[in-house]
Symmetry: C2
Subunit: 127 residues, 2 copies
């Protein structure tokens, strides 16, 4: 059985390493990439590669948790983009569909910090 967990781990690790050929080799040629928060989409490995190669900033990714089964995977990762010492990492989440060990769909989320809503119960801690 294909090790989808390993594929997901390598997806993040090869991005971080800017190993573009190695990264693209994990993707199906017809991969679809979606960003639901901005409702943006890219069709195909070549354009998705072009998008990531050109992505601005000194971005870094580091996996926290990977979960995978025989058809899906998820990576929960820390990311920074400023390249500054001491920059606080933020959370990112990417879901994957996989077929025969190739990634056919990537959907990622970039949740932003917000203030707690009003009227939270007293027992909720801040950290």
């Amino acid at each position: 059985m294909v090790d989808n967990r390993h594929v997901v781990e390598e997806f993040v690790a090869r991005l971080e390493a800017r190993d573009w050929e190695g990264w693209a080799s994990l993707l199906h040629p017809a991969v679809v990439y979606e960003l639901p928060q901005s409702r943006e989409r890219i069709h195909g490995r070549d354009l998705y590669l072009a998008f990531n190669r050109a992505y601005p900033g000194e971005w870094h990714l580091s996996v926290t948790t990977v979960i995978a089964d025989d058809a899906h995977g998820v990576a929960w990762f820390d990311w920074t983009v400023g390249g500054e010492e001491g920059e606080e990492p933020a959370d990112g989440i990417a879901f994957f569909d996989l077929v025969d060990g190739l990634i056919t769909r990537v959907t990622d989320f970039w949740p932003e910090p917000y203030d707690p809503p009003a009227h939270r119960p007293d027992f909720m801690e801040r950290y």
Copy 2:
């Protein structure tokens, strides 16, 4: 082996059903609930239950994807809170740690819509 996928599916389904006793029975008494976006935390099943029982709004949850292994799980779900006909669902994501079929940690994310950044390449579609 405990079916962690089933536990995660039931976590969402019993919330949606307001089956509070059934929902709490999936949780370890010392469960920790965290919301990284607002840096809020709740310790323990009883307070977490109190929080959810009292949560305002006509909220609804519907699972899209569940992935689980022997220690972790994730639920990607649609949610609405307004109770209005035709309300567009938003994406929510909850990660779980599990021990012997009980949930010991829940971390959830509520990614909000945003406009695409400037200087996106022409080949990115909007949907």
